[in-house]
């Protein structure tokens, strides 16, 4: 370990963080002598109040309303809300409806990861950016032949970087165009992107014609062909960073504490009853589970549910410890904690930002590990990393020969397409939960979703051929009920918890992935995942404090795929502040592109 030099601390802030969905800001204290971030805190500067204005509303409106939580994965919320309603209403949609939802959600993963990875994250790795932050790395990239150039067509790593330049880069534009094709696929199944029109509790309103499936599959095969180029392209780019910058694996690295709530229900298994939830959860085509220090500790959705805790500590809300307990026990008679989302009462308390006290609108969701008594700050790895890690270790998934979990990896088979032969991909459990691996998993998951969609297409059209074209099951809204939905939003764990009384919503709490990832220090003093991942991150940027861009920090924050009006603020602890600067304005601006 190199000798630690005396700290040379500079406070720097980036606010807003761009190229993420939502308002995001960063304050850092950077030790330039040792090239490390000293401390970091996360905050949000926007509050809308869904849990407040959902009270008293018709429970059937929940998915229409909660879709509007997010403008890039609203459909994940709508889907999750329908899952929770199905449980509360005791309704099981026809199999065809589940295949249609799975096809819509698969298209969402294909679209969203594609747009985010190649049009937002990709800019952090583009030629223009690398030239400004690490000219030495760009010089290496110019000389480095891309190992898979035969597959993706770019000769050197620098050629890949040029292709990622915003709007002028060929791959940037191709990805943007492809993100439209996948959104068309989405619209076929769920009506509209991003707030679906055809989802309902009990099923879908989508008309299941032969044409629907034709229109979907011709687009899907184009995307699968695209994936055969995209995966090796990103492997080349990400592997290059490890090679060009030894030690880069430490950037954004944190303890392996990953949660995945499962995705793609199997209609043969999923009856939406709470009592059977562990079983139908394990039948999902992406396995739910929690990985702690590389070990899979559970795949049981009931256990996952029971461990949910919403802590305060740094957030702008009144505590609800003494408020009403809506749900004392779950349908299996397990006691439900007062800090569980079913029992949460949200009362906002706007106040000034104070880094010594309350500083954010985000709360601190944690998972209570009854084995150790700890409240774990799980992260989602931006979504794909946790999905892969859990699915790989669980070894339960086998999707019709297209996707298979092996216990240590996930194999993905992409069949022959118009111009390219069949391709076998394999995502292997990486050594680290870090920035590069979060990004790499995102690319592989695009292929996962596409391969799974091919299976869902085959099952869906089979129903149509067999004449089983009903897409919706009727139901009655009960006077009293509870429900929960578990799903994977594009960037990770998503849960919706509803309590119905007198036929109306008495309590409703959605927990999207960024609530976990962007959470602040909780009442035990445990930092949230962004804070944790950025703190102690080594800095490889070649610029000094005068023209510092913060690229390694920004890559880390973006590797989590932040996605709700939330904030990240990094903050200095006890170190002496030498200087205070806002994000340095320098370098070529993109203004007047094209």
């Amino acid at each position: 370990m190199p000798e630690k030099k005396p700290a040379n601390l500079v406070e720097m802030s980036w606010d807003p963080i761009t190229r993420v969905v939502g308002s995001l800001g960063i304050h850092t204290k950077i030790d330039f002598a040792n090239r490390r971030v000293v401390e970091c805190r996360t905050t949000s500067s926007i509050f809308r109040g869904y849990s407040v204005f959902l009270r008293g509303k018709d429970p059937r409106d929940a998915h229409f309303i909660t879709s509007r939580i997010c403008g890039i994965c609203g459909d994940n919320h709508a889907t999750c809300a329908c899952y929770a309603q199905n449980m509360a209403f005791g309704v099981r949609p026809p199999a065809l409806a589940e295949w249609i939802i799975n096809l819509g959600e698969a298209a969402e993963y294909m679209f969203d990861h594609n747009l985010y990875q190649d049009n937002l994250v990709g800019v952090d790795f583009c030629e223009q950016m690398v030239k400004e932050t690490n000219p030495g790395v760009l010089a290496k990239a110019e000389k480095m032949l891309a190992p898979h150039s035969a597959l993706h067509g770019y000769r050197t790593i620098a050629d890949i970087m040029r292709a990622l330049n915003p709007f002028t880069g060929a791959f940037y534009r191709e990805a943007l165009q492809m993100s439209r094709l996948t959104r068309e696929m989405f619209c076929l199944m769920e009506g509209r992107h991003v707030h679906p029109s055809t989802l309902y509790p009990g099923g879908v309103g989508t008309v299941p014609s032969v044409q629907l499936f034709t229109d979907y599959v011709v687009r899907l095969m184009k995307y699968i062909e695209f994936m055969k180029k995209v995966v090796p392209l990103h492997d080349d780019l990400f592997d290059f960073f490890y090679e060009a910058l030894p030690g880069y694996e430490e950037v954004g690295r944190r303890r392996v504490l990953l949660g995945c709530w499962g995705s793609f229900n199997d209609p043969a298994a999923c009856d939406y009853t709470y009592a059977n939830m562990a079983d139908w959860g394990r039948a999902m085509y992406v396995t739910p589970g929690i990985v702690i220090d590389g070990k899979l500790v559970t795949t049981d959705l009931v256990e996952i549910n029971l461990g949910l805790r919403i802590l305060l500590g740094s957030s702008f809300y009144q505590d609800w410890q003494e408020s009403e307990t809506f749900v004392k026990a779950d349908p299996l008679d397990n006691p439900i904690d007062q800090r569980h989302p079913w029992n949460q009462t949200t009362v906002p308390k706007p106040q000034k930002r104070d880094f010594q006290g309350k500083y954010t609108w985000v709360m601190s969701p944690r998972w209570f590990d009854k084995r150790t008594g700890q409240h774990l700050a799980l992260d989602t790895g931006g979504g794909p990393l946790a999905r892969f890690w859990v699915t790989a270790l669980a070894g339960l998934v086998d999707i019709g020969g297209y996707v298979k979990a092996t216990g240590h990896s996930v194999q993905i088979r992409l069949p022959r397409t118009a111009n390219l032969p069949e391709v076998e991909l394999e995502w292997k459990i990486p050594k680290w939960s870090n920035t590069i691996e979060r990004d790499r998993a995102r690319t592989y998951f695009q292929a996962y979703a596409a391969a799974a969609a091919l299976y869902f297409y085959e099952r869906g059209i089979e129903e149509v051929y067999a004449g089983r074209t009903q897409t919706w099951t009727s139901f009655k809204v009960p006077e009293q009920a509870i429900g929960c939905g578990f799903h994977e939003a594009v960037r990770g764990v998503l849960s919706h918890h509803v309590v119905i009384r007198d036929g109306k919503i008495a309590n409703y709490h959605p927990y999207p992935p960024t609530s976990w990832n962007a959470s602040p220090r909780d009442s035990f003093g445990t930092p949230g995942p962004y804070e944790d991942a950025v703190e102690q991150t080594p800095l490889f940027e070649e610029n000094g404090p005068d023209n510092f861009k913060g690229i390694d920090i920004l890559r880390t924050v973006r590797s989590f795929d932040p996605c709700l009006p939330c904030g990240v603020h990094m903050y200095l602890g006890d170190g002496k502040v030498l200087e205070v600067r806002h994000s340095p304005t320098f370098g070529a601006q993109l203004g007047g592109p094209g």
Binding site: P16, V207, K352
Partner: protein, 347 residues
């Protein structure tokens, strides 16, 4: 590149400016769904306007946080210059509803960037107060910034509202252009980009003042109802109403508000002509309307007005359907001389 002043909206058709900044504030109470939506547009696409693919209009310098290269103060630089009147002509786009920051003791419901002196977030309201008076045109992207939308629902804690409620319905830019509202939750991608293209044409004097209705919507987009453009309208006419979701018949009795909601989604689809709402099996929940969402909830109940109108059409609709059934049966049979080797004249 130096910029020349934009012409007044009624000016002659002489190109007067070569590029224009579009400054997009997405830090209202929203979801960024309108920003994401416009990346789906193809008529025109974002690249079309940024790369100058449409002839005769100024090239667009697009400045939106989700799609920006720069971060932090580097990103805010242009907004700060605009607020100080030091930027050339620009179009301000507002996304998200505007909170009432006066209904509490302290803190802020919505902020964007940080005030270097205080360390506190800069309220979104302050940005709008500073930028709107400097803008050549102001556009609301989506229903939240137009009329309040979902976040202004009954029981909301933020007292939020649309931009016309915030600035005033009669408010005009310094160049005399009213607020332009492009509602939709989210905004239909091509609708928004087409409005932007219209304004670019207006900016160079090629198009007259943008025609707006009294709710500040472009008339050519929002002049008709969903129903008037819905491909299920024929079922309605024949009183053929779906009882279950998933049917291809008219879904007005399942909660569709299409007959009274002003929106072109039935005709335009969602993107590339694909998707939409009632045309593809989703009840219209009125998401383009000022009364959204409260006046349309619960969304899955039949609208009260529809009960009356569907009852009124039953007798006519059933009769017409029966008569058409007879005619259709006849038309489905070939003329009787076919296959008999005898033409009509050979009897």
């Amino acid at each position: 590149m130096p910029k020349r002043a934009l012409r007044a909206p009624t000016a002659a058709a002489v190109p007067a400016t070569e590029e224009i900044d579009v400054l997009w504030i997405s830090a209202g109470l929203g979801c960024d769904g309108d920003t994401i939506a416009i990346t789906a547009a193809t008529q025109p696409s974002l690249e079309d306007l940024i790369q100058g693919a449409i002839p005769g209009v100024p090239k667009v310098n697009f400045h939106n946080p989700v799609l920006a290269y720069d971060v932090g103060d580097a990103f805010l630089e242009k907004l700060r210059r605009a607020a100080e009147g030091k930027l050339g002509p620009f179009i301000l786009v507002v996304e998200g509803s505007i909170p009432n920051e006066k209904n509490k003791q302290e803190g802020c419901w919505a902020g964007f960037g940080m005030d270097a002196k205080t360390g506190q977030p800069i309220p979104t309201c302050d940005w709008i107060r500073k930028l709107a008076p400097r803008a050549w045109a102001v556009v609301c992207a989506g229903t939240c910034s137009a009329y309040g939308g979902i976040h202004a629902m009954a029981g909301n804690p933020t007292d939020c509202m649309g931009l016309p409620d915030f600035l005033g319905w009669d408010w005009k830019t310094k160049d005399g252009i009213p607020i332009v509202c492009v509602p939709g939750c989210p905004v239909q991608p091509d609708n928004f980009m087409e409005v932007l293209l219209y304004l670019l044409n207006q900016a160079v004097g090629r198009a007259p003042m943008i025609p707006l209705d009294d709710r500040l919507r472009p008339t050519w987009l929002f002049g008709s109802t969903v129903h008037e453009g819905c491909d299920r309208g024929g079922y309605y006419e024949q009183a053929d109403f779906a009882k279950d979701y998933g049917s291809s018949r008219c879904i007005v009795k399942l909660g569709c508000w299409g007959p009274v909601v002003q929106c072109n989604v039935g005709k335009r689809g969602w993107m590339g002509g694909i998707g939409g709402c009632p045309n593809v099996g989703g009840v219209c929940i009125g998401c383009t309307m000022p009364g959204f969402p409260d006046k349309f909830m619960p969304f899955m109940n039949e609208p009260a007005g529809a009960m009356l109108s569907t009852a009124a059409i039953v007798m006519y609709g059933r009769a017409v359907r029966a008569l058409r059934g007879i005619t259709r049966g006849s038309m489905n049979r070939e003329p009787k001389w076919r296959g008999t080797a005898k033409g009509p004249g050979d009897a």
